[in-house]
């Protein structure tokens, strides 16, 4: 781990410690605590889970068992651009898997993973409530309906161009 990442993690853990203090030490607070951590910091790291275990007086394995049971929780930091591909029933029969595959191919990662440069991550989700627009992909909280492989290329290209521009502006 390089230095900045270490400093970031320390800051995050510090913040989590202060949030934990607001929760009573009761098992029924476990899921709300995990949700709060993820909401603010986007993922649950091992050390955060250990802190939760200590706070609730439970073992780390119990905490881990609960956290991994639920689809909501992730254990690695997501990318700067979070891509969620809907694989609900309506999206499936309209080719949602082809969309997912297009993102996978383009970014060379699998669902649940983040690109090494932490720019993109892909997740699969089930019905996001816009079946009339199927197939659907959510990119950074924006719903993109009627997706097609060419639209996938366009979206990623858009981010790449934006990044290039930012880089040039910095120089």
């Amino acid at each position: 781990m390089d230095n900045t990442a270490e400093i970031e993690e320390e800051a995050m853990l510090h913040d989590i410690a202060s949030m934990l203090a607001t929760f009573v030490n009761e098992e029924s607070n476990l899921i709300p605590i995990l949700q709060m951590i993820q909401e603010k910091h986007h993922y649950l790291c091992v050390r955060a889970l250990q802190m939760v275990a200590k706070h609730l007086g439970m073992s780390s394995s119990e905490i881990y068992g609960v956290a991994t049971f639920y689809n909501q929780f992730r254990f690695y930091p997501p990318g700067k651009h979070q891509i969620k591909v809907c694989l609900g029933t309506a999206c499936h029969i309209r080719g949602g898997d082809i969309i997912l595959e297009s993102f996978e191919r383009k970014l060379e990662i699998k669902p649940g993973e983040t690109t090494p440069d932490r720019e993109f991550s892909i997740d699969r989700v089930a019905c996001v409530g816009c079946c009339a627009l199927a197939p659907v992909a959510i990119v950074n909280d924006t719903v993109n309906g009627h997706m097609a492989p060419s639209k996938v290329e366009g979206l990623i290209l858009g981010f790449e161009i934006e990044k290039e521009r930012e880089k040039r502006e910095k120089q």
Binding site: E26, E27, S28, N29, L30, I31, P32, L34, Q35, G65, V66, F69, Y70, N71, Q72, F73, L87, G88, T89, A90, H92, I93, R94, G95, I98, E101, S102, R105, K106, V125, A126, C127, V128, G129, C130, C131, A132, L133, A134, V136, V143, G145, A148, P149, S150, V152, E153
Partner: protein, 642 residues
């Protein structure tokens, strides 16, 4: 309740109601213009935010005063963004498929110049001489809105609008009744739970009412794990107040002082609206200590579910609120006997809860007048897939599938044929065309091999492969099995493996029988509804589409040409236009090459079968073909470099 306290209650509510009506009148003043924009998830996804911004900009540019009121979902998701413009001198008019451009046009043409721009009108909300009334269209006049009566017509963040439209008067009425009388009324109404199984609501309530423990709990189940359904979420996003009112009546009837709404964290907008609605209700004394100054206390908390299908099952849901893995527990004891924290607990679905206020308001007999004898009331479906007018539909029970699909929802688009309808999500089944005259009610659907389930309905046209649909659902249930029962955990995995090999052309002669046998074993050997129903998609597709399984297994052919291993694309050289490059740019894997005589060919080793070339080929050439099995594609060699 004695006369004194009844008078006090009426007085307290009358003052809230007067306040609400005053605010409502001010908002909808006689000469003011109102623009209602549908801003539930479906509206937002279709661009409602930009439409709203365009209205705001155009209004301020032209110095026109009009109020913009964000509302929930009318159910017509196919036509979003939807807007209702209420302008004095005109009936309220519903516009569809809004864009920022259309919004600006409407401000100029309609609000400024009195031209209602007929080409963008869907219909008028009231009968009039100028514009066709929406009730003249089958979608509107065959629906019966009980739960969704106010969805899309009020601001889900403004409790006063609900009260001004008559909301919370059912709760007031309930508080003047004895709890037993309420349960009786629900019993007379014949209300069956809308969470899937159709269990009689009054029986549950009576059990909890009769339990000796002092503390009781009411849970509203808004987990909605079906991966192709979104009714509960939309109801919470559109009219959370009616759900809260139902919960409050339920709590009063069973004697609970604590209620929990269990809603998925993946539904951020629903979480936000229900939270806000609870806060507002507390502020004006409709919740909290001494509801409406009576001695009934009720606290409603929101618990965010973390996305596990099995947590929709009531005992697993209770486990997860207690901070555990969401594993179903053996029943009995039922939650009504020993539920959350060991206390007697009512668990009811969102739609069940939202049905309570209208029943109490209008009486059991009124409710019985809707729907069928054994399934009174309405059914709410999210009708999606290959259907023209996808969206949420609330119909009286007893309507046939044919009416729902072909009349109310407009039928199958693109001149394709109907093939099957999947009802009830991962626990349900696929019904073929011969079942289109089946009545939609709890018993008829179960008899047909599907089930009401959560209310997900996916319509499929001739291009959908039934084996793949079964594989899709098994992939889902296999992931979502909590792992407690061996049959469910390992059995579903095994079913999935078999289906995967069939859809990739590795199927064996004995596979159909294997699937059937194993399905029955899993049904028998599982504790909860997940395992007991997981094989349903397989059982029904084998029963009604056995030929399709056989084609995959013996001919290695996918009749619907959906299973990608079993299909191939090729370019018909007789049709391909020399020099045209349309498909080349569309191909994500650069598998399209130019032949010697400047036509195109597909390199089958690189093709991922995404279908983009077919979509991009100009219709006048229409040269891309899809075949199954893949060997049917003629071989076209890539010319050697240079």
């Amino acid at each position: 309740m004695n006369q004194n306290s009844k008078e006090k209650l009426d007085e307290v509510f009358a003052s809230i109601k007067t306040d609400a009506e005053r605010r409502f009148r001010e908002m909808k003043g006689d000469d003011s213009q109102n623009i209602f924009i549908g801003m539930a998830t479906c509206g937002l996804a279709s661009g409602a935010t930009d439409v709203k911004a365009a209205f705001e900009e155009a209004l301020s540019e032209r110095k026109i005063s009009a109020r913009i009121i964000p509302v929930g979902c009318l159910g017509h998701c196919y036509a979003e963004p939807l807007v209702i413009i209420d302008k004095p001198g005109f009936p309220p008019i519903l516009y569809h498929d809004l864009t920022p451009g259309k919004a600006r046009l409407l401000v100029k043409a309609f609000l400024e110049e009195d031209d209602p721009v007929f080409e963008h009108v869907l219909g008028a909300m009231e009968e009039n001489d100028l514009i066709p009334w929406i009730m003249d269209f089958p979608r509107f006049n065959q629906e019966k809105k009980v739960v969704m009566a106010n969805s899309g017509l009020l601001d889900p963040e403004d409790i006063y609008q609900y009260i001004a439209k008559g909301g919370y008067s059912a709760l007031v009425k309930a508080l003047t009744l004895e709890p037993e009388e309420i349960i009786h009324e629900i019993q007379d109404s014949g209300l069956r739970g809308r969470g899937g199984a159709g269990f009689l609501t009054d029986i549950k309530w009576q059990l909890v009412r009769d339990a000796k423990e002092k503390d009781k709990i009411v849970i509203c189940n808004a987990d909605e794990g079906d991966p192709g359904a979104y009714m509960d979420r939309t109801i919470l996003e559109s009219n959370p107040y009616q759900v809260i009112e139902g919960i409050a009546i339920s709590a009063y009837a069973v004697g609970a002082e604590k209620a929990i709404v269990y809603v998925r964290a993946e539904y951020p907008l629903a979480v936000k609206t229900i939270n806000k609605a609870v806060e507002q209700a507390k502020e004006i004394g409709l919740l909290g200590k001494g509801v409406l100054s009576t001695n009934f206390d009720l606290d409603i908390a929101i618990f965010q579910g973390s996305g596990a299908f099995v947590c929709g099952e009531e005992t697993a849901l209770i486990q997860s609120i207690q901070g555990k893995r969401g594993m179903p527990q053996p029943r009995p004891p039922y939650p009504a006997q020993r539920g959350l924290w060991g206390k007697p607990t009512v668990v009811n679905n969102v739609k069940t809860m939202a049905s309570i206020p209208p029943i109490l308001e209008n009486g059991a007999q009124w409710y019985r007048g809707i729907g069928t004898d054994r399934s009174p009331g309405t059914a709410i479906f999210s009708v999606v897939g290959n259907i023209l007018h996808a969206g949420l539909v609330e119909i009286p029970m007893g309507v046939t599938l044919r009416t729902l699909i072909f009349e109310i929802c407009g039928g199958i688009p693109n001149q394709k044929d109907f093939k099957a309808v999947q009802i009830g999500g991962p626990s349900g089944g696929c019904l073929p065309g011969s079942f289109l005259d089946t009545s939609i009610d709890f018993d008829s659907l179960t008899q047909a091999g599907a089930m009401m389930g959560s209310g997900g309905m996916v319509v499929m046209d001739e291009d959908a492969c039934m084996v793949d649909v079964a594989r899709y659902f098994l992939d889902f249930t296999q992931r979502e099995s909590c792992g407690k029962c061996t049959f469910c955990r390992i059995g579903t995995k095994h079913l999935l493996n078999v289906l995967e090999r069939i859809t990739t052309g590795e199927g064996r002669e004995e596979d159909i029988e294997l699937l059937e046998d194993l399905s029955l074993d899993i049904k028998a050997g599982s504790l909860c509804g997940l395992g007991k129903t997981a094989p349903n998609p397989i059982i029904t597709t084998i029963k009604y589409f056995r030929d399709e399984y056989k084609a995959h297994i013996t001919e290695k052919r996918c009749p619907a040409m959906m299973c990608r291993t079993l299909t191939a694309y090729y370019i018909d050289l007789d049709k391909c236009a020399r020099g045209c490059d349309a498909c080349v740019g569309s191909c994500p894997t650069e598998s399209i090459f130019t032949t010697k005589n400047r036509k195109k060919g597909i390199d089958q080793t690189l093709c991922v079968k995404c279908g983009e070339c077919m979509a991009s080929c100009p219709p006048e050439y229409d040269a891309v073909r899809k075949v199954s099995p893949p060997e049917l594609a003629p071989k076209i060699e890539r010319p050697k470099e240079g």
